[in-house]
């Protein structure tokens, strides 16, 4: 199939950037979205032009680097799917596709479709360590975790830090990401000693990075390729309020 692409091209963080139109020719429906871009880039390289820069690594939905807004939807808008997992069979011959980078003050565009998500790393760093004994690992069965908590913690831990939640949020809020990270430690016994200082530090850093606030619209969870549920945000709010009641600063 043949497609028309409108792609955001931007040389570097300082430059203006603009949309450029390309033709994607002879695309096979079984290709992934990134493979389609590879084909376009191959042609650009052959013609001596600069290929479209996009981030990618695992190409199987686990690294979180391939974020881009495709026709108005982060990752293309299919349930539980990253851009690298998006198949071209979802498009029709002759379709026009608009491809843009994440837009948020805290995610500056580096080049073309690549944004700098270091703000997420700094939020994680602000969370700090968990206390763990060194030496020989203790017997796994000595730490009991209720099945429900184990499941919920696992679900929260599925967050790959892709930033689609920020991209989809009308307020460019990072609450879903931050809340997922807080929930996955806060639900487990190993996360308890630092539970309240962690939420205070991470929320503080999240605000400092320039993300917006949450108006509970829910677009984040709807866009999340790992289907992180909205209730992790309620959990984070609760933990922060309890932390402040306990006087944690």
């Amino acid at each position: 199939m043949n497609l028309t692409l409108h792609v955001w091209r931007q040389k570097n963080p300082q430059s203006e950037g603009r949309f450029v139109t390309y033709q994607a020719k002879n695309i096979i429906p079984d290709m992934s979205f990134l493979e389609m871009l590879d084909v376009v880039n191959q042609e650009l390289i052959m013609n001596g032009e600069e290929p479209i820069a996009f981030e990618h690594d695992c190409r199987e939905g686990i690294c979180g680097s391939c974020g881009m807004v495709i026709n108005g939807y982060p990752h293309g808008g299919h349930r539980g799917t990253t851009a690298c997992q998006l198949h071209m069979r979802h498009f029709k011959d002759g379709d026009t596709i608009t491809i843009e980078p994440w837009r948020a003050r805290a995610f500056p565009v580096m080049k073309d479709l690549i944004v700098d998500r270091s703000a997420f790393d700094r939020i994680i760093q602000a969370g700090g360590f968990i206390s763990a004994n060194t030496g020989a690992a203790q017997d796994a069965n000595t730490i009991l975790v209720p099945k429900q908590n184990a499941e919920a913690a696992m679900d929260a831990a599925a967050c790959i830090g892709c930033g689609a939640c920020v991209a989809a949020c009308p307020n460019a809020s990072a609450m879903l990401f931050t809340a997922a990270k807080i929930a996955h430690l806060g639900l487990l016994p190993q996360g308890q000693p630092e539970r309240y200082t962690r939420v205070v530090r991470m929320v503080e850093q999240m605000d400092k990075e320039g993300f917006g606030g949450c108006t509970n619209i829910g677009e984040c969870a709807a866009a999340c390729p790992k289907e992180i549920p909205l209730d992790v945000i309620a959990r984070m709010n609760r933990d922060l309020l309890v932390a402040k009641l306990k006087g944690v600063n």
Binding site: H6, F19, V69, N71, G72, Y73, G77, T98, E100, R103, A104, R105, A106, A168, P170, N171, A172, S173, V203, E204, D207, G210, F211, G212, G213, C214, T215, N216, I217, G218, E219, A222, A223, P229, L230, D231, I233, A234, R235, M236, N237, R238, D239, L240, L241, V242, K244, L245, K246, G247, V248, N249
Partner: protein, 226 residues
Amino acid sequence: MAAALTLYRTTIGKKAVMAITGFIGYGFVILHMLGNLKIFEGAEGFNEYAHFLRTVGYPLVPERGLLWVVRIILLTAVILHITAAIQLTRIDWASRPKGYRQIRRKQATFAAMTLRWGGLAIFLFIVYHLAHLTFGLGIPNFGGHETAYQNVVASFSNPINVVIYIAGVGALGMHLYHGVWSMFQTLGLNGPRTDGLWRGLATLSGILLFLGFSAVPVAVFTGLVR
């Protein structure tokens, strides 16, 4: 105390203030709506109710004592709610300096997306409402709370007031259709098991408040209450 102040510095803390003050407003509008329905008891019943609001608690507290306590709580809540709303809106609007060429929403409701404009509409409505029915602006033969019933009838005999009122309470219904669910989420009182409950409560609240408030102008305008 220090913790409360540092809490307010966070976006979540500001939201918590919005949720608590919003909850106060929610409680108030429910009671206000139920009180308004006394109009269907006729002039005597309604004016007696207006009088009761001024004397409740007397002689234990001075006349109008409780009324003023409630007024001060409500005024404080409205000021805090609006202050936090403006601060958060500025943060939210600054967070995406360059927008998308094309962005599509998957599930956002109209009510959630228009919370700020709905809030602004409610604010303007409150100003109009107080000037009109509390201070008598634009009501012929306004007699203060002694003639509360007659004031309402005089007001809603004019279709302009009916339209403004229904638009105002429509905005309120919308605001709470999202806001009531949202306040439980903001205060961390939501989870997978309670989500449907709060969603249902919010939907019901928005609809019933709109219908309950609208009943009065509609009844007057159609001549049911005169």
